[in-house]
């Protein structure tokens, strides 16, 4: 891998971390979701540079295309306002503690990682094309794959049961404006 890739990766990484910080600090709730799109897209770019092509596009398809849309959907259903909301963050004390815990965790991770892997170099990523991934998933990982499919089904059923209103005992009487 040449230096250009490293530089691009570094830029993408800065973009990802920067937008991630904006996700967690912005005081406009929809902006958080939009910054999340940027962060996730940058991570997808990182995958591409690590030659995990398939993973990158799955990231775009599932995260950007579906997860973020769902998040936006939920934000709008819960009446996200335009402009600054004051009630997005917890109190100052909690934020300070949260920052300390997060920084401590980060510092620990950095310490461990630098200690363990400084000097290691990625020569060539294993190419993650669709055929290779497919072969791996359906040969070595077929059992976890099947388990995951069951998990997805369970999540689907759970989400439907949670959101339906004609299930006895589920949901409140009032309704919310929405396109369903």
């Amino acid at each position: 891998m040449n230096a250009a890739v490293t530089v691009v990766f570094a830029l993408l990484g800065v973009l990802a971390v920067g937008s991630a910080l904006l996700v967690v600090t912005t005081r406009q709730v929809v902006h958080a979701a939009l910054w999340l799109v940027v962060a996730l897209g940058a991570v997808a770019g990182c995958y591409l540079l690590l030659r995990a092509e398939f993973v990158a596009w799955v990231q775009v398809l599932v995260y950007v295309g579906a997860v973020v849309v769902l998040l936006l959907f939920a934000l709008m259903l819960t009446k996200a306002p335009i402009g600054v909301s004051e009630d997005l963050d917890a109190g100052l004390a909690q934020r300070v503690v949260a920052a300390m815990v997060a920084l401590a965790t980060g510092a620990l991770l950095v310490t461990v990682l630098v200690d363990g892997f400084s000097g290691e170099v990625i020569d060539q990523g294993a190419t993650g094309g669709a055929p290779a991934i497919g072969a791996s998933v359906f040969r070595s990982w077929v059992l976890p794959f099947e388990v995951l499919s069951v998990l997805l089904l369970a999540a689907l059923v759970g989400a439907i049961v949670l959101s339906r209103r004609d299930v006895p005992g589920a949901g409140a009487a009032d309704s919310v404006a929405g396109g369903r």
Binding site: C46, L50, V58, A74, T78, A98, A102, E120, A126, L162
Partner: protein, 108 residues
């Protein structure tokens, strides 16, 4: 490319996500923090997979699985959030404390 670069990026994402999970009141924003942390883990998986030049592509396959689980988690999480919103007209996490023990009740 030094291996440390993607690892540090992942650490940054994780730290940011952790802060989001801990410091936000809005449940959807907390879920976003969780997504960031999951992405950090994914990035590490892919980076280590690339470093090891794993022919089985374990890192990438696990990343795919994590993405799948994350999708399921978001679907359920948002269903719960909407449910809570329907009940209380609010999704502030610090108001959802009904399950904690009341301070006046004794041990029973």
């Amino acid at each position: 490319m030094p291996l440390l670069l993607p690892l540090l990026v992942a650490t940054g994402l994780f730290t940011a996500g952790l802060y989001g999970v801990l410091a936000r009141r809005n449940a959807v924003l907390v879920l976003m923090g969780v997504e960031l942390m999951l992405n950090a883990a994914n990035l590490m998986l892919v980076a280590f997979g690339a470093w090891l030049a794993d022919t089985l592509l374990a890192g990438q396959v696990l990343t795919l699985f994590v993405i799948t689980v994350a999708a399921a988690e978001v679907g359920l999480g948002l269903a719960i959030v909407l449910m809570v919103y329907r009940q209380r007209r609010s999704i502030a996490l610090d108001e959802m404390t009904d399950l904690h023990e009341s301070r006046t009740a004794g041990l029973s």
